[in-house]
């Protein structure tokens, strides 16, 4: 059971009461986590854990240091505060250190589902049984993962800051593979609430299984530049690099895609297709996300790109003041506007192209162009005359999310990317022209 607001407030106060520095900042978190794995059509590992973390940052005369630990008795907390203060006293001066944050007011919206808080090994096992049964009925091998957590965290300082939030999340994914070893696919869902997330082991295995069967016996198609249809999962995988590049400081410093010559940035320029609208919103009703950062800075609702124009870049507390730009932390969620069609209707509009259901092992290659590399996985298909004509071998891509946002042919209806439980990604399937596949892979 996670800390209530009162518990968190008491713990924060107990830490601050032991401080001798005028400026001490504390973050506390309690985390209840459960998970079960399955593979080869059988349960494998499972675990449950509870964890408390107390993190103390002490600041004095421009010097600062942080110490954290997992014990909450008075003596341990006292030792932790003392350690942070001693380390800070010895640290060199940081000209970028900021005064304490003071009062912040995140929204009061609840991001908790009691059904998720109550989950345990039994609930997870029941989902796994359904997934395995569904895969067996299709004569497929099934592997997967069920995971849920209940996180309560608070941040306080001696200048009036106290923010608290509690969030739950549940996710499940299933990979089905054909017995001949040539077909594989994965389906997954994630959400803050059990029902809304659509946790249903049988349904997930059925979805993954259908694609796995269709992906059997792939044929080789030469690499090159193709029109691609990207699922929401594939779009999110690539936009991850885009979000990481949204730093105002890096842009001014000349080491970013968003850099313009002579220390300027490209904020205000229309760099992308006019249909592109990207924003973040921690209090989105269907897809809530973390309301504040580990420093206690509240996540605002913000437009990053609108009508293809770069609207804003991220800036931390020091940089925001130094450069005179709004304080915008790296976002906790990402939404991209789309259109009405589903994946099938996008496919129907493509004369010749390739359907990518997901990407894998994506890594940044060149920050200057946000060039990334990675591979297609778990079902790649040739599209001919609006239909999937063949399962094809996987490709390695060397391509930038910038191309996705420039070469837009069509957008579909946004959906939560269920294979990326690490964040909140609500993005549309896309049709993109001239997507660069560099080589082929034999992997299934």
């Amino acid at each position: 059971m996670s800390m209530t607001t009162k518990d968190a407030e008491r713990l924060v106060k107990r830490v601050l009461d032991q401080a001798s520095f005028g400026d001490v900042r504390v973050h506390v978190a309690s985390h209840t986590h459960g998970y079960s794995r399955f593979a080869q059509g059988a349960p494998t590992q499972c675990g449950d854990s509870t964890k408390v973390t107390v993190t103390v940052t002490a600041v004095k005369d421009g010097r600062h240091a942080t110490a954290s630990g997992s014990r909450t008795d008075d003596a341990s907390i006292g030792a932790l505060v003392k350690q942070a203060e001693e380390l800070a006293a010895l640290a060199p001066v940081d000209p970028e250190v900021m005064p304490p944050l003071g009062k912040m007011s995140p929204s009061a919206a609840s991001h908790v589902d009691p059904e998720v808080s109550k989950m345990g090994a039994e609930q997870r096992a029941a989902q796994i049984e359904q997934a395995i049964a569904s895969a067996r009925s299709l004569r497929l091998d099934a592997a997967g993962f069920v995971d849920h957590f209940d996180l309560s965290e608070a941040m306080g300082d001696r200048a009036g800051l106290f923010v608290h939030q509690r969030r739950t999340q549940v996710s499940m994914s299933t990979t089905c593979r054909t017995s001949d070893g040539t077909g594989s696919s994965k389906a997954g869902v994630v959400g803050h609430a059990l029902k809304a997330a659509g946790i249903d082991g049988g349904k997930l295995a059925h979805e993954a299984g259908g694609w796995a069967l269709q992906s059997r016996a792939p044929v080789a198609v030469p690499p090159g530049r193709y029109t691609v249809v990207l699922s929401p999962n594939a779009v999110a995988e690539m936009l991850l690099f885009f979000v990481q590049a949204l730093s105002h400081r890096a842009a001014v410093e000349g080491r970013s895609f968003f850099s313009a010559p002579e220390g300027k940035t490209r904020v205000g320029e229309v760099l992308f297709d006019s249909k592109i609208h990207i924003w973040s919103d921690p209090d989105d009703h269907h897809h809530p996300a973390s309301k504040f950062t580990s420093e206690g800075v509240v996540q605002p609702k913000v437009d990053w790109v609108k009508n293809g124009r770069v609207e804003a870049l991220t800036a931390g507390r020091y940089w925001s003041q130094h450069a005179g730009v709004p304080l915008l932390p790296a976002p906790s969620s990402l939404h991209m506007a789309g259109d009405q069609g589903d994946l099938d209707s996008l496919i129907a509009g493509v004369d010749r192209g390739i359907l990518v259901t997901r990407f894998w092992y994506n890594r940044l290659l060149e920050p200057e162009t946000i060039l990334a590399t990675g591979l297609t996985r778990d079902g790649t298909f040739l599209i001919e005359k609006g239909k999937l004509s063949h399962s094809i071998k996987n490709f390695r891509y060397n391509e930038s999310p910038v191309t996705l946002l420039k070469n837009v042919a069509a957008l579909g209806k946004p959906r939560r990317a269920g294979l990326l439980p690490e964040g909140v990604w609500v993005v549309p399937p896309m049709v993109v022209r001239d997507f660069n596949f560099e080589s082929s892979s034999d992997a299934v």
Binding site: S36, Q40, A42, P43, T44, C46, G47, D48, S49, A65, T66, S68, S70, R71, L87, A88, A91, P92, V93, D94, E96, G120, A121, A125, I128, E129, A143, G144, D147, T174, T175, S184, E253, R255, S259, A260, P261, G263, Y361, R363, L364, L365, P367, E368, I370, L371, T373, N394, R396, N398, E399, S400, T403, N407, N436, S439, S440, S441, D442, A443
Partner: protein, 554 residues
């Protein structure tokens, strides 16, 4: 073997203007971290000299009784096997940005994890609330989930967990050799060292930014099992980093150059041995050189991979596909499977006859070096690839039986107290060649190729066939000489074709360790620290021009 080979230093340097490049290729002092030169020994790993005193000061000992209670309660609740791990995981991160400190942070993760086998299934429970009161609750929770898993296995007609016996059913203690506890060094001294290094970088014209960091980790772990094993181990690890960024403010464009020093197991003396400030000017100069270097011509040709680059290629293309759990499909939902099948050991020709790879959890300085693994198995050394043939798997106690082996190879590891132990990679290293070649020999023997140094971008498919790696510095090799630096380079290959194309490997004197703290696997994902030793070696690969790939984004 290579009749036109000329190993003299003079022929290696094309002209005096490239002398600094040549000297670097000949390996400066900072590229030879202490401890990295020793090929793996046979027998158990050596220990720290003052082992007894370090162990006696361990804070986890205060809760040994709690671990025993948890194990006993699990057996009483119906488990047929149980182990408890008390883990104190201490980290310290110090980072500087340009001319000032950026962060000083210490973290202590401490807790207990209890793993059980009951009714044939696995169960696990962990908490940071380490107390005699909580131990029986932990046991109850772990045993209940194990029984639920066991019931599902029976209903599905699947076998229960097979737990291989220990070849050496004795516990013990082990402290990784180190001279200076990283937590005993004053914060100012660490910060000063890093600030000297970044300061030296910023003196180089064109270099606009410099970052330096050191991550220090000490893992203190007490393992108690229902088989009567008690294992107490303390392992310090260090990861230094130093980076220069050159920026062309007028035309736009930038390039960075990272130090090639690998993370290592050991004490602060390792960081001292690197002389970060002394190596900074050369690295900074290379950031500039890289910014203004010629863009590479794409196409298939020889690549000569320095140990600072090749270690990661070994990790991804040999390390992961020889994990037995991947080959059996246990990681199919996330990390992937393997191009190697469970029955391929002893028959699959994976590379040329020059390719010999050894797994070794006893290698001095290796990040995955331990006395015992997290199943209580004593560490060892064995062949993975011999004369180009794949011969050996990485296994744990619940996997050995799958391939008819009586004992585990000792590859079980869990990150922190709340990670579930499963099969993780040991140090796996390419053995040096008998000819005793130097990097110069490899360059001199190459008509047309690229020499790649340092770690860049990396990516490989889920069965480990198709990979692409970048690097830190790239040098054009023409007619046996290094001619100029290059930029925008990545190399691509198919794992089997790549290792079959290996036609030259350096000798013992060129062998170095590389490694990383962040080897990710499992769900929830856990990180493993692992090293890979290798000499420089020559292969065929497809060179990609990354600038050309990005033309759509410009």
């Amino acid at each position: 073997m290579m009749p036109w080979m000329n190993t003299s230093r003079r022929s290696f340097l094309v002209s005096s203007s490239l002398a600094s490049a040549g000297l670097l290729v000949a390996r400066p002092a900072w590229a030879m971290p202490k401890g990295a030169l020793v090929p793996a020994p046979d027998g158990p790993p050596p220990q720290a000299a003052n082992e007894a005193a370090i162990l006696a000061a361990s804070r986890v000992l205060a809760d040994e009784a709690v671990a025993k209670v948890a194990v006993e309660a699990a057996i009483a609740a119906g488990a047929r096997y149980a182990d408890a791990r008390l883990v104190l995981y201490r980290t310290e991160n110090i980072g500087v940005r340009d001319d000032h400190i950026d962060h000083v942070a210490r973290h202590e993760g401490y807790g207990i994890g209890l793993r059980v086998i009951a009714d044939g299934g696995w169960g696990f429970a962990a908490t940071t609330d380490v107390s005699a009161k909580v131990a029986p609750q932990l046991a109850k929770q772990a045993v209940a989930s194990a029984k639920r898993n066991g019931a599902m296995l029976r209903a599905l007609g699947r076998p229960e967990v097979a737990w291989a016996p220990l070849a050496h059913p004795e516990g013990g203690t082990w402290v990784a050799p180190h001279e200076i506890d990283p937590f005993s060094v004053a914060i100012q001294d660490k910060a000063d060292l890093l600030l000297q290094a970044t300061g030296a970088m910023l003196k180089q014209p064109g270099v606009r930014f410099a970052n330096a960091m050191v991550a220090s980790v000490v893992e203190d772990k007490l393992f108690i099992s229902s088989e009567g094993l008690r294992v107490h181990q303390i392992v310090p690890r260090l990861a230094p980093s130093l980076t220069a960024v050159a920026v062309d403010l007028k035309k736009g464009g930038f390039a960075s150059r990272e130090h090639e020093a690998p993370p290592m197991q050991g004490g602060w003396e390792y960081v001292q041995s690197l002389d970060l400030p002394g190596s900074a000017p050369e690295l900074a100069a290379q950031a500039n050189q890289k910014l203004h270097a010629r863009s590479v011509e794409p196409g298939a040709r020889h690549v000569i991979l320095a140990p600072s680059n090749l270690w990661l290629t070994i990790h991804e293309s040999i390390g992961h596909p020889t994990e037995l759990d991947r080959a059996m499909g246990l990681e199919a939902n996330f990390a992937g499977t393997s191009f190697i099948g469970p029955r391929d050991a002893g028959s699959l020709k994976l590379g040329s006859a020059l390719v010999n790879l050894v797994a070794d959890r006893t290698q001095p300085g290796g990040l995955a070096t331990v006395g015992w693994d997290d199943d209580g198995v004593q560490s060892g050394r064995w062949d993975i690839v011999r004369d180009g043939i794949f011969v050996g798997w990485q296994t744990t106690r619940d996997q050995a039986g799958w391939i008819g082996e009586e004992h585990s190879r000792g590859c079980s590891y869990a990150q922190g107290h709340d990670g579930l132990a499963f099969q993780r990679m040991p140090n796996i290293s390419l053995q040096p060649g008998k000819e005793g070649y130097t990097t110069e020999d490899l360059v001199n023997a190459t008509e047309n190729g690229v020499l790649v140094q340092g770690r860049g971008s990396w990516s490989i498919d889920q069965q480990r066939y198709n990979f692409q790696f970048s690097g830190q510095m790239f040098w054009e090799v023409k007619r046996g000489r290094i001619t100029q630096p290059l930029r925008d380079v990545a190399y691509q290959a198919n794992t089997i074709e790549f290792w079959h194309s290996c036609d030259m490997v350096g000798g013992e004197g060129t062998y170095r360790l590389g490694g990383a703290f962040g080897d990710g696997k499992g769900e929830p994902m856990q990180l493993n620290a692992v090293s890979h030793g290798c000499p420089p070696a020559r292969f065929m690969a497809n060179i990609i021009n990354t600038s050309e790939s990005a033309r759509g984004a410009k």
